[in-house]
């Protein structure tokens, strides 16, 4: 049963456009994450939020910015997309952030033309 929801499923856009992805979790978790998964299935963490506070901000380009209105939502905005941003973006949540199981959404697939 899905408890981490992501929209949209798929998005096609052109270089330079702005895009925004939404993530919502209904598990009552305190921590949420954004990961980028490339075409080779490699997963890299981008951001971690705990109770709406940014905890981890890995080295990502400044055009990426997370936005959290409450601890159940963590959106991702890309200000001016580049071709290398084409990937699957996975949202996840966990109760805490120390060794807790993560629950993943189905992902948003971005294609930049």
């Amino acid at each position: 049963e899905t408890a981490v929801f992501q929209t949209p499923n798929y998005h096609v856009t052109q270089v330079g456009n702005e895009v925004s992805f939404n993530c919502k979790q209904t598990l009552g978790h305190d921590t949420m994450y954004w990961y980028k998964q490339d075409s080779k299935k490699l997963l890299k963490i981008m951001f971690s939020y705990n109770n709406k506070q940014l905890i981890v901000n890995e080295t990502v380009p400044r055009r990426f910015s997370p936005q959290s209105s409450d601890k159940a939502h963590l959106n991702l905005r890309i200000k001016s997309v580049e071709p290398e941003d084409s990937a699957v973006y996975l949202c996840a949540s966990s109760h805490g952030g120390n060794q807790d199981t993560q629950y993943f959404g189905p992902g948003t697939r971005l294609l930049v033309l």
Partner: protein, 112 residues
């Protein structure tokens, strides 16, 4: 620096055969280890996890994994695979501080 290595990018096994997917980690502290599975066009799902205690942990769908501190390994096993086990499997290390290190994944293909 912490790292997770899954040395086999692709594994092909026949249905009904046994399976082992390898995972080696590098971490000086106490490792918290997970195996996740990703089916096509889906998110990741937890198979099992290890924190401490019995080094052999049982997971869902008949999977188990064995932790070895001396070998820095956490290999995943299944006695008899089914075609529906075809997926990508990820070994994950948690080091605390909201950081999780993922292996590159092993793509499993089960053939008839």
């Amino acid at each position: 620096a912490q790292s997770v290595t899954q040395p086999d990018a692709r594994v092909t096994v026949s249905e009904g055969a046994s399976l082992q997917l390898r995972c080696k980690y590098s971490y000086s502290g106490t490792p918290y280890l997970f195996w996740y599975v990703q089916y096509p066009r889906q998110g990741l799902q937890l198979l099992l996890k290890y924190y401490s205690g019995d080094p052999v942990v049982q997971g869902v769908n008949g999977f188990e994994a064995e932790f070895s501190k001396s070998n820095s390994s956490f290999h995943l096993r299944k006695a008899s695979v089914h075609w529906s086990d075809s997926a990508v499997y990820f070994c994950v290390l948690s080091t605390g501080n909201y950081k999780y290190v993922f292996g590159a994944g092993t793509r499993l293909k089960v053939i008839a």
